[in-house]
């Protein structure tokens, strides 16, 4: 009797990113959300409100801080879409399509963010 061995899954790669992203989500996302809310509440004051132009400019003109923002966007989008991809299984949807959509979107979001950040870095400063 020959036993057919199952093939190795590539899941570890995504899982490692998912793990890092999940950790980021739990550690910093609540704080970031508070900032977004505060920005919304203080948005009348473009100069002294939260996330005012000066603040964001100083983030994106600093390559290190900009990289941190990119890292957060990258990990969070992989984390969130990975989880949603698995949730599709939980609703009985087993299709390669969700795989493409999920990781494709995550990659797209990350690339867009990276591109825009580079653009800003070059254009403004």
């Amino acid at each position: 009797m020959r036993q057919f061995l199952p093939t190795r899954s590539d899941e570890p790669m995504y899982w490692l990113m998912f793990g890092a992203g999940g950790m980021v989500a739990s550690m910093v996302l609540p704080a970031i959300t508070v900032i977004l809310i505060a920005a919304g509440l203080t948005s009348g004051d473009l100069q002294h409100g939260v996330l005012n132009l000066g603040q964001v400019a100083s983030i994106f003109s600093n390559w290190f801080l900009s990289l941190v923002v990119f890292g957060i966007v990258f990990l969070l989008s992989f984390y969130a879409l990975h989880r949603m991809h698995h949730s599709s299984h939980d609703f009985g949807i087993h299709s390669k399509l969700t795989w493409y959509i999920a990781y494709g979107s995550a990659a797209a979001i990350s690339f867009i963010s990276l591109g825009l950040q580079l653009l800003m870095y070059v254009k403004f400063f």
């Binding site: 739990s26 970031i32 977004l36 920005a39 473009l46 002294h48 939260v50 132009l53 100083s58 963010s113």
Partner: protein, 150 residues
């Protein structure tokens, strides 16, 4: 083995693949936990949208009102929109729920001994407690910087 004849007629209870998670509160909590990812994605999109609007701006040495119009719109009309604010409050709650469940999930990954000569494992509460401490630290630092530099 070949069955000559069998009296078996096993019954396979049907599985509803869409609604199974409503059958039991443990499952429901699990699905909510997984569902928080959708709101995390929403937050990411908000951020990237902000970056996009900022990139459209023209901030020369002296920013003009028209130059920063896209970002101003983002701040005032988007983030300032009461619907978005309400949504962000939901995002906050969901991410706190995510954080709590995430910290609860971490200890099973750690199986280390207290010290070289003991058979006692590092107790789980230490791992959970240190995660909460890190969370508190990170939150204080981020919010501190954000609010003190305005």
């Amino acid at each position: 083995m070949s069955e000559v004849k069998s009296f078996r007629k096993p019954y396979n209870p049907p599985v509803n693949k869409m609604t199974w998670w409503l059958e039991n509160s443990f499952y429901t909590k699990y699905m909510i936990r997984e569902g928080t990812a959708v709101l995390a994605l929403f937050a990411v999109l908000e951020i990237v949208f902000g970056i996009f609007m900022l990139a459209l701006c023209d901030i020369g040495p002296i920013p003009t009102l028209s130059g920063i119009a896209p970002y101003a719109w983002y701040l005032q009309s988007f983030l300032g929109n009461p619907v978005i604010i309400a949504l962000n409050v939901i995002v906050l709650v969901s991410q706190l729920y995510h954080a709590i469940t995430w910290f609860a999930l971490m200890p099973p990954f750690v199986r280390i001994f207290m010290n070289k000569n003991s058979t006692e494992l590092l107790p789980r509460w230490i791992i959970t407690a240190s995660l909460y401490a890190a969370f508190a630290g990170a939150t204080v630092v981020i919010l501190g910087v954000a609010f003190l530099t305005v």
